[in-house]
Amino acid sequence: MTQDSPPSNIVRSPVPESWRTALGIRLLPEENVLACLEVDLDERLRFAPGLVALTEARLLAAGAAGEAWSEWPLGAGLSLLHHDHAGVGTVELRNTESRLGAWRYTLAQNLAALRLITQFEAQQHLLRTGVPPDPDGDNLCPTCKAPLPPDEDECPVCTRELHTPPSTWTLFRLWRFARPYEGQLLTGFLLMLGATAATLVSPYLYLPLMDEVLIPFQNGQHIAPTTVAWYLGGLLAAALVSWSLGWAKTYILALVSERISADMRTSTYEHLLHLSLEYFGGKRTGDLISRIGSESDRISVFLSLHALDFITDVLMIVMTAVILVSINPWLALVTLLPLPFIAWMIHLVRDRLRTGFEKIDRVWGEVTNVLSDTIPGIRVVKAFAQEQREVDRFREANRHNLQLNDRLNKTWSLFSPTVSFLTEVGLLVVWAFGIWQVSQHRVTVGTLTAFLAYIGRFYGRLDSMSRIVSVTQRAAAGAKRIFDILDHVSTVPEPLNPVQLPAVRGAIELRDVAFRYGNRSVIRGLSLTIHPGEMIGLVGHSGSGKSTLVNLICRFYDVSEGAIRVDGIDIRSLTVADYRRHIGLVLQEPFLFFGSIADNIAYGRPGASRAEIVAAARAAHAHEFILRLPQGYDSLVGERGQGLSGGERQRISIARALLIDPRMLILDEATSSVDTETEKEIQRALDNLVAGRTTIAIAHRLSTLRKADRLVVMDRGRIVEVGHHDELMERQGAYWRLYQAQLRTAESHLDD
């Protein structure tokens, strides 16, 4: 977007190239464009270019090129509003009585729109008061309120999205994982070279065997045993050498390729775990599991078997070609003639096979997705007696799989026989040409025999090489799917120059925070300051954005606009792990990992001593029930903590949060899934946890939030009320209504 030499009357925000002249002639002398919004939709929401430009004195707007311009002088009563819905943003110009104009754009232009509004407001302020508005601290990005680097308009936080496709030469990118094994790979390659050369010795010995032993014998001469012994010994030696070298090479290279794929699997998993929750939200578990599991295995097989064979084949072809040419160039030429033709055929089929295999992979993901949807939800399936429907869904996915396989096999089944056929034809040509040459006494029978022996192998290799096409495509498709994960830049990126977080006090400041999930705006213009040690209760209907807000504070997602600061530091400038260390999280459904109870409590601090674990469990009121278990702290619990009640699991997760001693604590419906009696126990445990920490608690039952210093009432992504319980009750606003509603349900429950 940056232009090298802006025209003299356009100073800062560059006007898009296509609008330069059209706008330029409308400007008065000394009039500068302050901000520009290039809209891409018209009022009927059709794609059409348009422009809204702000100068010191006017707002100018034009629809599609050639249409009339409209303009409004800036002045009192004018305001510029902006909202978005379903991916379309709207900027409206209003005076006090009516709407003067409205412009629509896709969200790609959102940044420009926000900039226009900021500039508009600044200019209005200037006209009204005569003084330019206080610049907001430092130079801030209009979208995310992150400080901009000096002399730059583009915000590094907002423009980080990656839109370039990965290279198609995906398989070569595997080199990144192969580099640590360069030495072994080189050894393997040299061994391969030797082994291949050794296998080529034997046909070479056919030539003298034929010409010097057999043909003379047919012509009535005696067979010399020593000569024959020498030749046969040579054949045996060649076979032995090629056997031992082949063994060493296969062993070394298979070892390396297994390591490469293991490294790849681990780094993919590592990368995956560092991606934001947003990524996991958009992916299916089955698909991710198959990518990391089977795709990497497929690549390993490709590397250790197919790629190895392929390189051997290429080596063999090159060496054979050299030998053939050295024996008899003409015969060699005829022999090699079908080669380009076959290569061309392979190339022809490649594309079709590759897309076919990619599709099959995706369909395979579909099949596993049905499984991973159904098996965890089996209770729902059974409760609604929908087994047959799920089976049908699975059958449908399988049928789709079959269909694609069938289509691919049509091409594939034709391919291999064609190559074999071409091989036969090639042999035929060599036979014919060879016999003619022999009859002309240009070559000996021995030469022809050696040639036929060579090309028997030679074409055999071509046949197996043609098989490499499909496995390569398969592996490339697999590699692509793995690199898809590896190339995915976390939407919660690590800062380049992270700020060190000193001792945290726990002051949290939310500043004009907005968050959009897809095109749905979940949180809008939210500002809140939380003091160190304060306990905030978040209340509101479900879907009002409470959990999203908590996710933003934990930095599971990054805000779309605005900023969150902890002790005055933007959390985006801290490393994610460093920041999260200071946050304790207790969720509605506590997740216990497979392992002992002690391991689960020490999950956030694996180095914790036994005394610390017990102390944390005591404070969480979990100690006693743990002691009642047969193996105490060493009792094993499964993934969902079988054998433990909801309240017990919850207290373990509270102990887990206590052990890391965080400055900030988040309780997301921590007591919702248990009965009132258990809730009291948990509440006592929580009171220990909350003491002295900045706490944000979400609770459905308002009664559990009585201890909160302030209650924040949210509705549809905004804060509607803030205050203490008594204050809010007095005000008889949103909180009061929520409270009354709960009281009524509680009463009706009692009536039942």
Binding site: L41, A86, R99, R104, P165, P166
Partner: protein, 156 residues
């Protein structure tokens, strides 16, 4: 709610104002389709600015012309699901990929982040989401021309 009991107008700010059967004015009401894709002309709700349903219309066609036009106008200005008619080009078959498409709302380009952003809504219908969350609809794959189908096929 019977249909004739309420009235719909547009005010100077371009907002719809609904006066309901009890004579209460609701400013900034919004018509919403319940099934924008499956049945766009059935089940339209008029919702107040704070999200409560005020009027339920079984079928838009049953309305008198004046409110129907207002509702249709408003819907046209709010709904944005361009229907892809033709794929002109895709920058690459690996994602992210920039697509140049012709839609019922004109030609445009968008970035497809990953294949999983293409969702099947039925055997022949696709919903494609771009990086900014705009949804593009392919109503019938079979109705696309050969070139578009072939391009699209690479991503399915």
């Amino acid at each position: 709610m019977t249909e004739s009991r309420w009235q719909l107008q547009r005010d100077g700010f371009g907002r719809l104002v609904l006066t309901d059967a009890d004579g209460v004015r609701h400013e900034g009401v919004v018509p919403v389709r319940s099934f924008p894709i499956a049945a766009p002309h059935e089940g339209i709700a008029v919702v107040s600015a704070d999200g409560h349903e005020l009027v339920w219309l079984e079928r838009l066609a049953d309305l008198p012309a004046q409110p129907r036009q207002l509702i249709e106008q408003e819907l046209a200005g709010r709904e944005f699901v361009p229907e892809i008619r033709r794929l002109a080009a895709v920058s690459s078959f690996a994602t992210p990929s920039t697509w140049t498409v012709e839609t019922d709302r004109g030609e445009t380009r968008f970035v497809l982040r990953g294949e999983e952003d293409i969702r099947r809504l039925g055997p022949r219908m696709l919903m494609i989401a771009d990086t900014h969350g705009i949804q593009y609809l392919v109503r019938d794959i079979k109705a696309l021309d050969r070139v578009s189908r072939r391009l699209l096929d690479r991503f399915l």
